[in-house]
């Protein structure tokens, strides 16, 4: 008997009919001899409906009250799914985040899970019940409802899988797996059967929106076997697992081309090149709960340097305010920023042992006359910042260059 945690997103539970279909799918897993914990999102559209109600009342609602408001979305889904399960003869019980023992820190709207008390959930599983848990939410030490931020239901599922030592955490979504890049940009993008946590992490953080990045981090950290699959059609999906050096997952150097339009770039110009300068810029930004993505600092001759970083576009205005003040305090010459940029990355564990990937990437972009604004690299990815208008062109040409396309769809050679 395996213990599975299954997560169904907003589209998968978007209507009563779809909730019934999810119930059937869950029951099939139980009938195959598994114990099943289900984590659900709000019905698609519901969170936006609630946010609209709030914005009709206040332009800047208190984070605590936003959490009280939007957490009702998942609560509706857990009740409805339990009803659908009962209806087909499967005993089930719903839990809000708080009831499921999901404790978080106090950071409203962006809380992090600190601890999970699985006692009640385990008791129900052992009594033969399916447990249905509201994703995206928890409770803090004050007894207040918190939310993990949008998309946080994935994190709830993985954290619950880790706490329960589940055999597999299955993320059901509206796509049938992880692709080499977004099929809306490159129609013959190929579905990957397997991918490593590290690659998935780079893919997710760079904008392949199949999985929330924090969920993948969590899964990697606690060794939770993760699988992304479709809630609308049968299939094996994509398995996300550790990189086993004995049995390399795939021969490919590169697993995929990721991209992200939601970036904004900020540069502090002519900042004194002294130790601790990076921290004194990034620290206050992080303290404001803004996630910094790329960071580049160039060597400079004249005891001053330029410090550039990127943040999510929605955090751009807030970050500019913070940095303007910082620039003044640090005696920087100036600051600049722009939002009409995009990030493109090639990702793959294979590049570790192969030189020349960067050169191939830059050459390919140069051939199309796409200017590179900023470069950042890690062990398994190379990211470049470019003008947003060149994004699709860059993704398509890189996908072609690294031979990632699915050839099955093409006519057989005569």
């Amino acid at each position: 008997m395996s213990l599975l945690v299954q997560k169904y997103g907003g589209t998968s539970v978007g209507t009563p009919e779809r909730i019934k279909a999810v119930a059937e799918r869950v029951k099939k897993s139980v009938d195959s001899g598994n114990q099943v914990v289900v984590v659900v999102s709000a019905m698609s559209g519901e969170t936006n409906r609630l946010i609209t109600l709030a914005s009709d009342i206040s332009q800047k609602p208190k984070p605590r009250e936003m959490d009280v408001l939007v957490s009702t979305g998942e609560q509706v889904t857990i009740a409805l799914l339990c009803m659908a399960l009962s209806e087909i003869g499967q005993d089930a019980r719903s839990y809000t985040g708080a009831q499921a023992g999901i404790r978080t820190d106090k950071s409203h709207n962006k809380a992090r899970i600190t601890d999970i008390n699985t006692e009640r959930v385990l008791a129900d599983l052992n009594a033969g019940r399916v447990v249905v848990i509201a994703g995206f939410q928890g409770i803090n030490d004050d007894g207040d409802v918190t939310t993990l931020g949008r998309g946080g239901s994935d994190t709830s599922a993985v954290a619950m899988a880790a706490a329960l030592k589940a055999d597999e955490c299955q993320i059901y979504t509206d796509v049938d797996g992880v692709y080499t890049t977004d099929p809306r940009v490159v129609p013959n993008a190929r579905k990957l059967d397997k991918i490593t946590f590290e690659e998935m992490l780079e893919m997710a953080s760079l904008g392949s929106k199949v999985l929330q990045i924090r969920a993948v981090e969590f899964a990697g950290k606690y060794n939770v076997t993760l699988r992304v699959l479709s809630s609308f059609e049968d299939g094996e999906g994509t398995l996300i697992t550790t990189d086993d050096e004995e049995n390399p997952l795939e021969q490919a150097l590169i697993s995929g081309i990721a991209f992200n339009r939601d970036e904004a770039q900020i540069t502090v110009i002519g900042v004194p090149d002294t130790p601790g300068i990076a921290h004194s810029i990034v620290g206050p930004v992080a303290d404001a709960n803004v996630e910094v993505d790329m960071i580049v600092q160039n060597i400079s001759g004249d005891k001053v340097t330029d410090f550039t970083f990127t943040v999510n576009r929605i955090d751009y205005d807030q970050t500019c305010e913070i940095v303007e003040q910082l620039a003044q305090d640090l005696g920087a010459a100036n600051m600049s920023g722009r939002t009409d940029i995009a990030k493109v990355s090639v990702v793959g564990v294979g590049m570790r042992s192969h030189a020349g990937i960067a050169s191939k990437m830059f050459g390919c972009l140069a051939k199309e006359a796409i200017n590179i604004l900023m470069i950042s690299t890690s062990e398994i990815k190379i990211s470049v910042l470019i003008d947003e208008k060149y994004l699709e062109l860059a993704v398509r040409t890189l996908h072609e260059t690294f031979e990632l396309s699915d050839r099955r769809g093409e006519p057989a050679p005569e």
Copy 2:
């Protein structure tokens, strides 16, 4: 400084605009030097929306899951009202029933409040905050969400007022007070300035739907001063208070004509007339959480008797099932029942010291040729069961006979 508990129903918080208006009203109370606890219902339409979602999935959803589902309605309102209060500079904090310390028994959908821990609420009041509490809901000893049944927000408000020893519990609604009867049936029904708890209890239980009966019981029991008033216009509303013999509230014999269409009648025919027979019929019905209203048993000559009682119409089918089995077990001859009936009552503390009210009532109905199916009396009310089709006629003629009309609207005598 007074401590007020204000309750706003679904119509009063039906749109973001109305929620803002409630916030203004609350702030005005605070600015007048009061501490204010607000209890709210779900936005009008919301509970029905949720119930429809459930019925799309299951014809008989589990009570536990219904509570998880519908309790989200009030949770949405508390968050939105707190946002509206913050927006106009009034610090406020929302609490679900569970967070407000409202503990109930385990009877899902029809739970009763057992205890309120006011610690967190008092701390917030003392810190100068308005506390906004989700009505209609609580938490049981298993940590599960419970609801008090429809309209239960009134009970939440009164229970909270009792626990906090509030100076007044103000029930804001879409009418401006308690009337001598339903103005939709008798257009010149008169608003009462004051009414006793006992009268209000009889009025409420008999179908004047301004206040939930349990709320009035609670208020009477714990001596909570209650006031019904309009959330749309200013005014003093109707004060509901104890009957002070020194200062009689009003001179009138009769305060109002109440009525109820939601009744169904069940008779057990030819049941052996032995001690304990009433309990052996009513007991199992009550055990099924069905509320029994009128009970009549007639003296019978032949060691058998007919036992008749009424229940809410929605409980009719369930009750019939129970009673059919009982009738068999008790050796009764038969059972019968009907749902096309209505109850009309005259209510007033004044009748205690005056004879002839019953005679006047029966005479008035006889004059209109309305047949009386069943009679039941208490110290301060006389109720009759009649054919539903005569209901409006009976109410109008009784209202006239007991001179309850508001004469102000009539043309002055020439």
